[in-house]
Point group: C2
Chain length 342, copies 2
DNA sequence: ATTGGCACTTGCGGCGCTAGAGTGCCAGGT
DNA sequence: ACCTGGCACTCTAGCGCCGCAAGTGCCAAT
């Protein structure tokens, strides 16, 4: 694209991001940074429209950047604010210092995304079953129940109540626990299943019920930990172009049903090329042509991976939001590396 | 109030609940169940308006029940559908059968409230620390960490990673675990604190760090379990009178900030007189004069208490919603009594 | 006490108009 | 060859107006 066209597209986009209104040749000329008359600008605008970067809502309105227009801006024209990163790091350091658990950390990360961008923050963590068992412990709870605790790789901790086999003393239970621990330690999921099955067949331990419970656990992903944190939805509705009941409904539906978001989020998990932007209709979310999604993959130790980012209006300051999402993702990755329970 | 006035108020309310529109004397007369002419009805309506049960938006609109009008309806006129309860029980039995954890159960209850009423379901559980310890176990995780698991009364289970004291073998850790278990078993929170302090002072076990971690745990309420479940918000925006951006914002704010809701919810926790209804401005939520809240307290075994209910439009079918909330609360109470982990 | 009739009030939808904004194109200047 | 002022054209948003429909309050008659 000609340099002249780029300059004009850039100006149009940045004014549009500010105001959200169509921008006309007049204001563009008066704003002065181009040194061109309205008429000249009009010619270029017409060309840009022919190429699909601009769009007129109607004859007597100005031009609005299309999704492609914004895309071009984000890909080629945008300059990220350099000292943005420091500000972000600072804020993150301040607010995300020492969180007790992984869940708490992620929730706070989501809050932080929301408060930095003033849009909706989003943190997703891949639903993961225990992968490789580091430790298994059975703890007697009552005469009818026993608590199974599993510590898996990446310090994931999961627990579940199982039915206690009749006529098994605490003493015996402890022995079974030790035995199972030896049996299942360092096994991955498939191996755990196999060995449990084998154990059940021979049933030397006479605790078929218990083993069944364990097996069922390893079958189903642990659904008790919801895995999508969303913060600051309400801020979206402060943007006039999103404060439309139709859009509101769609947004709420997306947040509540989650499947649509998950599809998007999983796309990002595939390739790990930093921050990914979906502008307007680029994500396939229906009725949400006015929103953009900015996501990045993050990665904790062993088996913890996920995606985080923000959902905001199509006209967001990408040059601010992109580094925010990027930094937060890195930060979260770093924090997850530390000492954190699951 | 005169029987005639009651009948008319009742008719107005039930038409209003259906349509959401002001109801005029004409339709009321034509509807036929009163056997009176529009003129007569008008007289009574004027009287009802003077008493504050009705309100005209303007001269040429019909009458709309005020909050007091609806209140009177709910308190004195309403007849709850008798076989409603069966339907509800049935649906609950079907969907809430065996949930693995307390959290899962409560979340499902919230979903169920939402799907039965088509409004937003709400379940709150009182944030509670462990009360009386039934069992404490220390599990070695790595060379630097140890997992503490506490089983408390009511089968509440909580776990936390603590720093592992240096130079303590798995063997020793197990002994410490047994010792601590003996020491702290059956103690309430205050007693736990006291004994831990005492133990730290003498420090016979040489594991000050570990004890400190435990103590800090018992100080702070366990914040990692968020305690308010909300489902089906989006359904609210299908009601035309709530699909107003102003109201949407307020609703979202209430759901996100939670303090306002908690204040309401705690009011209900105080007295346990079954279902409680807040109509329109009766709850002090700003900008939400168009919504009503129906809540009931529920109660699990030992120390688990909470409030659940729905948030819906002011014009909801109270005669349907009240039994739904009531039954769900009883049901949840019953289920919590069963075998469920925390 | 009830009711039909009538005058009065009020919001709402449709219509036409104007002002303002912005464009496209052309002809003339550099 | 490119830029620019000018002009005719188009479209929308806002305003005022009007008439319709709905509903009321009151009164006189039953």
């Amino acid at each position: 694209m000609k340099e002249r066209q780029e300059r004009i597209l850039g100006e149009i986009v940045s004014i549009y991001l500010e105001t959200g209104q169509p921008v006309g040749s007049r204001v563009l000329a008066e704003q002065g940074r181009l040194g061109l008359s309205p008429a000249s600008i009009r010619n270029v605008m017409a060309e840009l429209e022919r190429r699909g970067y601009l769009h007129s809502p109607h004859t007597s309105a100005g031009r609005v950047p299309t999704d492609s227009g914004l895309r071009y801006f984000v890909d080629s024209l945008m300059v990220v604010d350099a000292n943005m990163r420091d500000t972000i790091e600072q804020s993150l350091t301040q607010h995300l210092q020492d969180e007790a658990s992984k869940r708490a950390l992620l929730r706070r990360a989501s809050d932080e995304l929301a408060s930095l961008t003033h849009f909706a923050g989003l943190v997703w963590v891949r639903e993961s079953n225990f992968s490789r068992i580091l430790r298994l412990e059975l703890i007697p709870v009552s005469s009818s129940q026993v608590l199974a605790v599993i510590v898996a790789e990446g310090n994931q901790i999961q627990n579940r109540l199982l039915q206690r086999p009749a006529h098994v003393s605490d003493e015996q239970l402890h022995r079974i626990s030790v035995r199972l621990n030896e049996l299942l330690c360092d096994c991955d999921l498939a191996e755990v299943q196999r060995r449990l099955q084998h154990e059940m067949d021979s049933d030397r331990l006479q605790v078929r019920k218990l083993l069944e419970g364990l097996k069922r656990w390893s079958d189903a992903p642990n659904e008790s930990q919801s895995d999508l944190f969303v913060s600051g939805q309400r801020q979206l509705f402060d943007m006039p172009e999103l404060a439309v009941i139709e859009t509101v409904r769609s947004l709420m539906a997306a947040f509540e049903e989650k499947e649509q978001l998950l599809r998007l989020v999983e796309q990002v998990e595939q390739d790990d090329t930093g921050v990914k932007v979906f502008i307007g209709s680029e994500h396939a979310l229906v009725n949400m042509e006015q929103v953009s999604v900015v996501l990045s993959r993050y990665e904790g130790p062993e088996n913890i991976v996920g995606t985080l980012g923000v959902i905001g209006p199509r006209r967001m300051h990408y040059e601010r939001v992109l580094p925010i999402v990027d930094c937060t993702a890195r930060w979260v990755s770093r924090m997850l590396g530390g000492n954190i329970d699951g």
